[in-house]
Symmetry: C2
DNA sequence: TATTGTTATACTCTATAACTATA
DNA sequence: TATAGTTATAGAGTATAACAATA
């Protein structure tokens, strides 16, 4: 009824389906492992892992959120949950009293350590076991490439506005600032 | 503290992280598009798409579930939701009165058609745009391989039991039967 | 008894909007 | 006014267990 619908080649379709299936199964398995072994959701694991890597084991809420893709309130929710379990602490930043500094505790590191082996094993056996070294290298290159592309082109609506019917976007300013893939998007 | 922890090579790590990030961002973008354009969750889209491909546009609940990885109740929930919106119908099978046959409706196909272009475009621009044809082919091969591997080796606990501390599970029977990667696992 | 599916229920997660406080 | 974070709240999704009906 309008512009030619975009198409995927047979190879692209196959790649997309298989990619989707793999990531879905892998994610599912990993989530189960994290939950079974460490009572952690995937997001919580990511947060802990980030903190574990961060210098000083701590980060501001905003920086933590960056990349974990959730809403601010979602991060607060998870951080609270982790704090209640004693895996992280939260304290106002001395430098900027508006900020909250989240820091991983020893207990947090323990959980991380407890969970890691199984996590890695799962990834190894599920994702890498059936790939050659060359494949893994190619995969790393491709995914890094795509990932960079995604970071550079923050997916907007990802399916452009429906029929706008009205003005083709007079920039109401405000939005723009979101610059680097902030929390929500 | 026990057996040598498994390790990932630097390349594997990079591949895993990038893979994870890509699949996460892609999934997020696709979910947004499906929701914006067709008020569909990803699962609902998958169900509709399956039905759309199925001969006669219909399938048994059990067969539908197979591969979508959710619990039976979860499928019932989604099927109900789709039925309420008139996108599918549900009726007992004539052959086996225990079974429920789910069939996509014309309205269901319309939604599918409405959602498809944006979906494909998103996949194209987010996943494939930065890859060469050769890359796509390699990706398809790898993912198909891994996917086959995963289907062959249904991820069990994916992270062996913790220290049981108590009774190591006296099998209350019942459970075992789940045989072929059924719904739940 | 085993299988198919639904219901009841509880819980986790996410998102929006309103709000507080600092800058 | 803009930024950082929290709270209140509502809604979607998932899982478990109990259940009903058919095979």
């Amino acid at each position: 009824m309008s512009t030619q619908p975009p198409r995927l080649s047979a190879t692209e379709l196959a790649a997309y389906f298989a990619f989707t299936e793999v990531s879905s199964l892998l994610r599912h398995a990993v989530e189960k492992q994290l939950k079974d072994v460490g009572q952690l959701s995937y997001v919580q694991f990511q947060l802990l892992a980030r903190l574990g890597d961060a210098p000083g084991g701590s980060q501001r809420m905003t920086d933590l959120a960056d990349g974990v893709v959730y809403s601010r309130s979602g991060l607060t929710y998870q951080a609270q949950s982790l704090e209640e379990r004693g895996l992280v602490t939260r304290a106002p930043s001395p430098e900027d009293e508006r900020s909250t500094i989240v820091a991983i505790t020893a207990a947090g590191r323990e959980v991380l350590a407890k969970v890691f082996p199984g996590h890695i094993e799962a990834v190894k056996s599920l994702l890498f076991e059936s790939l050659t070294d060359a494949d893994v290298e190619a995969l790393a290159r491709m995914m890094t490439q795509v990932s960079g592309h995604l970071r550079a082109n923050p997916p907007r609506s990802a399916g452009r506005r429906k029929a706008p019917t009205s003005a083709p976007a007079s920039p109401s300013a405000s939005r723009a600032s979101s610059a680097r893939g902030s929390v929500t998007d």
